[in-house]
């Protein structure tokens, strides 16, 4: 008796599987790109994950990729359709940063991350929605409206890389890029049920990435699996002479590390990450994943990161201080939004910025300006930098005892749209587990674990500097042993 196995739809295939088909001539990049463009057209009106869709450019790039593949050229990303967070400058394609300020801005250059993925042959479907200038944890501060969580359209996807997270979760692209200043890759990855890694500060060049807080910003991939993340990070990482803060550190072969056995792995659980404020369901889900790691041979060690309660207040001095200066260039003089008929120079500045920026951006510029002001600098900015050192020291001491640190990515699952918009402090506390790694410059990954009430939960794994390979390996081994990462949201 013959029976028929329903083949997996294209959008459920991993990048490795797609690459195999593309290389084997069973699939063309043009077909694949059409497939994703069709899904975007059909599904994105409900999600609002994309700010710009570049169908023609994508199909042209796909045609080019097919030609390369036909010649036997290219690598695992050649012909793979991806999306870029709209914070990465793309030559000739609008880069809005989720702001009215840059609604009309077209960069004459590609960000290094964009350039490297293009060189690897990736096809860019478009630019994804985000919190304005990456300031937000719910994607509700975007000038282009909020992104909806594909698991529940009444809930937020997280932020600031909420568009990328929703697009990957809803299978609108094979992978996407994100940036993470205080959790902006990991938190939306957790809330949307995907894999997202924030590499070590300096691992991926910041050139062409619109700055929010320069000492914290870091780009990384957002994917459906650790294996896919390894492929993207391989292309994105590496020294860039155009970014003085990029690391002159060799990039290891991430794929080659994925299979390493976890026997004897020492996992630290910081007690500060499991205290008050953590949702009981999320806690149980994290514990379930930890038990899975124990089954894989890992050893659990209780640790303490005593200064971690200070990370949110420190972050909300450092990040706004840097942003108040970074966003000064948006003045209505050379590009971006300019108000109508200003009375004089001061009026031009005030009106252009008042109209161009949303309220969360303005709030942070004001906080930062205050923190850097004469008479307050020592009490705020300098003190924050000192505590930042203490937070780094906590991690340094922890990594003398353990190989990696695990805990929840976010204290709760995705919350309803609008729930925290009137309470900035409640909103800021979403990033309580993710911010410390940015302050210390450490890598962190979020991967899906058992959902709570049908909503995704993220496990965060923090590693020592330049241990991205190990994080991807540890994430991959769990994804080999469990199916949590395969769960897809309902087709909307």
């Amino acid at each position: 008796m013959a029976y028929h196995i329903e083949p997996k739809p294209l959008h459920e295939l991993t990048i490795a599987e797609l690459a195999q088909r593309l290389r084997g001539g069973k699939l063309t990049s043009v077909e694949l790109t059409h497939h994703y463009l069709e899904r975007i057209k059909r599904l994105d009106p409900q999600l609002n994950a994309f700010v710009t869709v570049a169908a023609d450019a994508a199909l042209a790039a796909a045609t080019h990729a097919d030609a390369r593949l036909a010649r036997g050229e290219g690598g695992p990303l050649t012909g793979i359709p991806i999306a870029h967070k709209d914070i990465f400058c793309t030559r000739g394609l609008r880069t809005s940063c989720g702001s009215r300020m840059l609604d009309n801005f077209i960069a004459p250059y590609d960000a290094t991350a964009v350039e490297r993925l293009a060189a690897a042959g990736a096809v860019v479907l478009g630019k994804t929605n985000m919190d304005e200038f990456a300031m937000g944890s719910s994607n509700e501060t975007s000038f282009y409206g909020p992104v909806k969580n594909p698991w529940d359209l009444d809930r937020v996807p997280g932020g600031s890389s909420g568009g990328s997270a929703a697009a990957v979760a809803a299978r609108l692209c094979a992978a996407a890029t994100g940036t993470d200043t205080g959790g902006s890759i990991r938190q939306p990855a957790a809330l949307c049920g995907i894999t997202g890694i924030k590499p070590t500060y300096g691992r991926v060049s910041r050139w062409g990435m619109i700055a929010f807080a320069s000492s914290l910003d870091q780009a990384g991939p957002m994917t459906r699996s650790a294996e896919d993340a390894a492929l993207l990070l391989q292309a994105m990482a590496g020294f860039d002479p155009r970014d003085s803060t990029s690391a002159e550190e060799a990039v290891p072969d991430y794929g080659a590390q994925l299979g390493t056995d976890l026997a004897g792995l020492r996992i630290g659980l910081p007690r500060e990450y499991f205290g008050a404020g953590l949702d009981a369901g999320v806690a149980a889900s994290i514990q379930g994943a930890i038990r899975e790691y124990e089954r894989l041979g890992a050893r659990i060690i209780d640790i303490s990161l005593p200064n971690s309660p200070l990370s949110v207040p420190v972050y909300y001095v450092v990040a706004p201080a840097e942003c108040s200066s970074n966003l000064a260039r948006f003045d209505g003089v050379r590009y971006g939004h300019r108000c109508e008929a200003p009375r004089d120079l001061e009026d031009l500045y005030k009106c252009s910025r008042a109209e161009g920026f949303g309220s969360e951006v303005k709030r942070r510029i004001m906080i930062g300006t205050y923190a850097l002001s004469a008479g307050y600098y020592d009490a705020y900015y300098l003190k924050a930098q000192q505590i930042r050192h203490l937070i780094s020291d906590d991690f340094r001491r922890a990594f003398e005892q353990v190989d990696v640190i695990m805990g929840p990515t976010s204290p709760t699952t995705a919350f309803p749209l609008g729930a925290k918009m009137d309470d900035p402090v409640a909103m800021y506390l979403n990033d309580i587990y993710t911010i410390a790694t940015n302050l210390a410059g450490l890598p962190g990954i979020s991967i899906p674990v058992a959902p709570v009430d049908g909503m995704p939960v993220g496990l965060q794994i923090i590693g020592d500097y330049f241990q991205e390979g190990r994080l991807l390996n540890i994430a991959h081994r769990l994804q080999q042993a469990t199916d949590w990462h395969l769960a897809a949201p309902p087709e909307v």
Binding site: L102, G208, R242, E322, R329, V333
Partner: protein
Amino acid sequence: MAWETVIGLEIHTQLATRSKIFSGAPTTFGAAPNTQACAIDLGLPGVLPVLNRQAVVLAVRFGRAIEAEIAERSIFARKNYFYPDLPKGYQISQYELPVVGRGRVTIVLDDGSLKTIGVTRAHLEEDAGKSLHEDFHGLTGIDLNRAGTPLLEIVSEPDMRSAKEAVAYARKIHQIVRWIGISDGNMQEGSFRVDANVSVRREGEARLGTRTELKNLNSFRFLEKAITFEVERQIELIEAGSRVVQETRLYDPERDETRSMRTKEEANDYRYFPDPDLLPLVLDTAFIEQAAADLPELPDAKRERFRTAYGHTEYDASLLTANRELADYFEAVAAAGGDAKLAANWVNGELAAALNRDGREMTESPVSAEMLGGLITRIRDNTISGKLAKQVFEAMWNGEGDADAVIAARGLKQLTDSGEIERIIDAIVAANPEQAAQYRSGKDKVFGFFVGQVMKASKGKANPQQVNELLKARLKP
């Protein structure tokens, strides 16, 4: 009641790098507006600064030239303020930890005595662009060609006590930056800009008076005039029972006065903080030594050497070391001509006059050091007299070739054949028996008449010394 003036200077000198301090755009002066500004200079979103290594090398060279400490670790900071010609909304500068620390220079005062002026610090920073208010009716044009040009800001201690001292110090710094090749020092093009902090206090008072900062001093003359005006203004204010307000004042050369630009209350809070886009600048000993390795002999050292080795007066030595081109030229002339004293006289005399007359720079002299040295050689070996040498110099200046060529072409070779000179003398003495008799009867003055006649008869070519000797012998009673 006597008053004491206290002056400190802040000098911005443009470093002679080919590209900008944080981008690869060229720094050439005078290009069409906004053609030498790249994405980094324009402050586009997402761009990042990368420090120009050569700018650091030049700063280190300056530090060494003023015997300053070079910081092993210095920090770039952001100075935040809004202005249309400041594209990023902040200037990248050095604030708490500059690359060049405390140093000093020596100036020569009017009475010839030396005074040491302390340099507090010198730091690297980027220049802003230019706002053009004149060319557009009711609009302001922005030219960002200059944005990102590397500057070294040199801050002095308040060690100067008069406008003249301030000018001497500014000239000294100007001399040094050009001498060691870190800046062209062109004041018209804004490559060397001086701001003066000026205050007055009653003599004997230890505390400094309230200072004003003077801007728009784009020549040494304006620097002196602005300070002179400002000192009088401050003294008059205080003597009238009023007070000096701490403020920035603009010098107006047309009216020869300073005017208030902004007061301290109106000043910006620059909100300095370390630039997170740039790592701390860490210099190891090897880098510092290499940067300073090919520093030339410095002007003060050279002046001292000229004085002792060549026996020059302080005045001659100062003149010859006014700039490096002149000093190098002089040394080449002295070497080629074999006589430092003659070389100094010719360089400070005929050459300086000719350059001045034709408005030429040292490097544009049509008479090379070798040519002038060749002329001096011909003076020394008696081929020509000193008097005819001036004629030869003029001819060389006008392109008639080197000294030997001019002497040959014009037949200026000195007459040194004693027989020939004697024949001329015999003729002259024979033609003037009356004067000969007068001389022999003790009227020495007549001797000059005979010298003149002999020189005239030889068309100036007879060797004057021989003429003297032979005439004396011939007229002996």
